[in-house]
Subunit: 359 residues, 4 copies
Amino acid sequence: MANTFGHLFRISTWGESHGGGVGVVIDGCPPGLLLSEADIQPDLDRRRPGQSKITTPRKESDTVRICSGVSEGKTLGTPICMLVNNEDARSEAYSEMATKFRPSHADFTYQAKFGIRAWAGGGRSSARETIGRVAAGAVARKLLRERHHVEVLACVSQVQNITCLINPETVSSKDIEDNIVRCPDPRKAVEMIRLIEEVRNEGDTVGGIVTGILRGVPAGWGDPVFDRLEADLAKAMLSLPASKGFDIGSGFDCVKLRGTEHNDPFRSTDGRVHTTSNRSGGVQGGISNGETISFRVAFKPVATIMHEQDTVDAEFRNTTIKGRGRHDPCVLPRAVPIVEAMAALVLIDHAMRHKAQCG
Amino acid sequence: MANTFGHLFRISTWGESHGGGVGVVIDGCPPGLLLSEADIQPDLDRRRPGQSKITTPRKESDTVRICSGVSEGKTLGTPICMLVNNEDARSEAYSEMATKFRPSHADFTYQAKFGIRAWAGGGRSSARETIGRVAAGAVARKLLRERHHVEVLACVSQVQNITCLINPETVSSKDIEDNIVRCPDPRKAVEMIRLIEEVRNEGDTVGGIVTGILRGVPAGWGDPVFDRLEADLAKAMLSLPASKGFDIGSGFDCVKLRGTEHNDPFRSTDGRVHTTSNRSGGVQGGISNGETISFRVAFKPVATIMHEQDTVDAEFRNTTIKGRGRHDPCVLPRAVPIVEAMAALVLIDHAMRHKAQCG
Amino acid sequence: MANTFGHLFRISTWGESHGGGVGVVIDGCPPGLLLSEADIQPDLDRRRPGQSKITTPRKESDTVRICSGVSEGKTLGTPICMLVNNEDARSEAYSEMATKFRPSHADFTYQAKFGIRAWAGGGRSSARETIGRVAAGAVARKLLRERHHVEVLACVSQVQNITCLINPETVSSKDIEDNIVRCPDPRKAVEMIRLIEEVRNEGDTVGGIVTGILRGVPAGWGDPVFDRLEADLAKAMLSLPASKGFDIGSGFDCVKLRGTEHNDPFRSTDGRVHTTSNRSGGVQGGISNGETISFRVAFKPVATIMHEQDTVDAEFRNTTIKGRGRHDPCVLPRAVPIVEAMAALVLIDHAMRHKAQCG
Amino acid sequence: MANTFGHLFRISTWGESHGGGVGVVIDGCPPGLLLSEADIQPDLDRRRPGQSKITTPRKESDTVRICSGVSEGKTLGTPICMLVNNEDARSEAYSEMATKFRPSHADFTYQAKFGIRAWAGGGRSSARETIGRVAAGAVARKLLRERHHVEVLACVSQVQNITCLINPETVSSKDIEDNIVRCPDPRKAVEMIRLIEEVRNEGDTVGGIVTGILRGVPAGWGDPVFDRLEADLAKAMLSLPASKGFDIGSGFDCVKLRGTEHNDPFRSTDGRVHTTSNRSGGVQGGISNGETISFRVAFKPVATIMHEQDTVDAEFRNTTIKGRGRHDPCVLPRAVPIVEAMAALVLIDHAMRHKAQCG
């Protein structure tokens, strides 16, 4: 069950980094949506390795094929299977990984759990697994946009110590896609790119924060007590490779304020209720309140570095390992479409759940 | 489905703050566990209102009754239903809430979602709902302790700007329970208690951070790609009232370090693999690695304050509201057993899942 | 998870025959439904032991209490917990069962599965467990009636060799409830009652068939490929104690006909499509087609008989056992409301699922 | 969620009869199982069209490819995706179906549910969809055989009025596969084949019964109250195209016997408990009792016939339709591996669930 996400708009992903390919099955997509590969490919291209000088150079076209669930250009309401072949699968580059566990990778834990692992390229724990998520997320985003007028965005708001203020009400997709690091502040973007290049040249890696923004979500989505909107977003984000934290609205900074400072007062204008501040982050009691939802996801520095590190081998003997060949200095630019995809998957599921119970 | 948590050790909670009571059904508990109310009540007492001068003064004995699933002192493997009656349910104290939405509470969003709400005391969105979680968590903790030698702890590590360093390897339940704020550092605890009392006297509230610690978890628990251990912990914690953020291991601080600084090297000692640092927080690739798991949960200041605030009424007219009667200055001390309960529920589910697939 | 049924209108039942009571939690009920115990009790009374001379004489008032999820007479959209206490729990009457396995009961298999069992009265395997189902089913039936104009009926159509023809289009609740065996043909009912009394006087038991009828279901409910409407009905019915078979429409008799005889031709009358025969039983390809749905459930003779039988004891030694005290000669009259409840639970779940995906 | 089956060994199927292919993803397969296409293909060949003169002549090689979840010949514990391309997809042969609803097919109900349908060849409602089930079932059967010593068999026991007695304790796979109708009684098989040929020559179709047999299932599998083993088997079987009924053990014939005749006495021989008759069909109270499990599935005559039939068109006007081209006179021989697959999927899921809770 661990490779399935969502209840009503349910996806199942599959595939290893160096196997026959990766993909996803969407079960529960509403019928009648115009859909073709052209709706999916742009998001995959934003996730693709080798898209810029600051990402991993692995060469993959990541061309998606829709195998089912669409007829004459429209979704049928039946499962949509989407496939991407693996092309640049040079397993030999990973031969050392067959016998040694890379520090802060999942090699050791997969071996401990399953007693076996696909050692080449991380197998299932590779970021390649997120292709299925992004493909399914593109369908969810289209549904949200066309049927619910909801906009899903993400952007890089911090790289190591370089931070950028985001205005969740005004930031646009164009601002974000305007530069290769996907930070909407062009001046900060230049600094971030410079830092990532510097880090890359040192064979090192760097982490940061992706901010997610969900605009136009009507009041009423989210299912307490366990499936609160923020709980499902948190799970979605912590299910991503390299993520270490999630917060929403005021987030971890909420601890600095007192109740008198933190509460969001309600005001009514022209018969529409809104809050005059948004420390809640668009969610109260687990349910959207009609304000813009904003959240943050912390990503650690990529574990593969071009330096020698202490580790153990498969026989539990002390040894060292050093990354070679490819090296991704920063996961953040490619994480942006993945965060958007996961947020969209959470939202569409809750939109359908809300209709089922309260529609 | 929103009031059900877990897959194999699955709980369903029910109850409003001012209805006939609150409770939980556990479905899937292994048979043969010695169990009585005496195993449950201590954790409920730690969650109970009125337990100290720094918590809400609502008077509830919160006495639990096991109604099913146990025979002759042992679990049967059948559903365990546990009930707690509501006693101090003075609805009249809440009459203003019938027509006005309290800022940063769930009144408005429940109304928006369901078109109806139990306005007294917050109904289902009340912290009283967590009684069922704590009762079920006590069973999970007993199973973890007796059958898996796993210890589940939580403590208060920050109240507003007063922080306390926690050593996850050594902190003990005794240290934590030694004072009413549940901070294991006695000097910091005194400061925290003083701050909470001060805030209470001002009719205000304050938030902070609860740190969770899971010791003795074997390598191999957690189910990527979606049900990573940290993803399920994140969902569990963000499903709690007033929580705004979750992180694990290095958490949000991971962004400050480079890969060379952040990675956890493996070493082998006497045939046992361990890491020489623990920035991963005991989890790599979504699976436990045998190290101590530590995570943080941010709780906002309680929304009910004794000050007049702007809000709207049920007819969407601008008005003001002021808390009266009871007032909980800080949710943190009572959140400790709730965090423990949720963590235990996540762990026992993964223990059972691991046995099913890889056992 | 085994004590949970349904996806969107999800119920969890709990309770043993001689424990603290039995009950159910409904998770996902739509808000705003007028609901009180008066909506539930009539169906429980139809399921109650001791209601007539041809059922078990156990004395239970089976009075239901709604503990949550309803405020000021209306459902809140939050979990509805309903409780019934056990009253006539004379465990001593079952003392022999503590050490001997009753033939064709679940004593042996529960012991084999769980290594422990609540021996008094069958514990969880008792028909008392169906109280929770009937209570939840009453809510589902009310929703179906008021919001979907769907009528759910069941009746006894066969007792051993006495059969009664049912016209699914015309049979009424009044016809069925007009006699204690719940057979809508009054002449056959007299014969059935006489047979059951005769069998009871011989200390024996007898089985038969309950026919279920669902009228007014719109075309489009049911979710292929796995959650076909007939598949979910089949699961629901085979989950009932003592049931041995399920069929729909032509059912097992379908094998006698050729395709030319079995197919249901479509005709259009006044713009409405209907079939001129209904061998499909209202379902084609797993989806309702707008015709009346009819199905059959076979119930075996009750296993408890007043005769000495071969069996083994807890130490696996050969011995004999003889029923004493209470004796239910025929489960069929009381199975009628249970079959209705399960059918209603399946339908309301599919109604909600249909709205979510295709609404 | 409707295209997902199972909880711990969970499959998701996808694909239409004339789209890009069909397939399945298995989520939860235990690691370390030797697995290659050679383990899957034989069952697919038994399901394949065109395998004999008494099945549909559609030409498909149905060659399976494993795309993920297996590395160096062993399962990884990660999702296993298996694909089969569609080859003989002559949509033009179905052009009449674009505008007319075939009687007793799913054309009308899919249109009613989804407002759209893949009309060529039945789309998702085609029997081609069962390819994914059979592929996944082959993996489940291998696990059952190698890790649990459980044997899963099915055979044709009735074609219209020709019946064959099956001895569930002794019937062998060899007996079944010895003839093209898959009836273990060679004399009856000849009669059945002759009948099917006769029916085929008349452009007609015929139904019958497939009997399933599960040997070696240990006492203790099955999860009351809702996920009884027979309930999950019933759902599995009624989810198959063209199935109309399911019964287990004495089944519908249970109504003819009294309790004194129907009960299965226990006896102990050499410390092993068994029953001296098996009217329970190997299941008591929803849990296996260690005896052979046997059940029956009724399949209606195939709906596509070479005769003119009344129907309506997409504008709801009365018209007629006549099958042309391909024509499958009897679904039974090909249903045998499908019934086996579904039974195996139910069993492996319960084996894993049993280990999780009671292992």
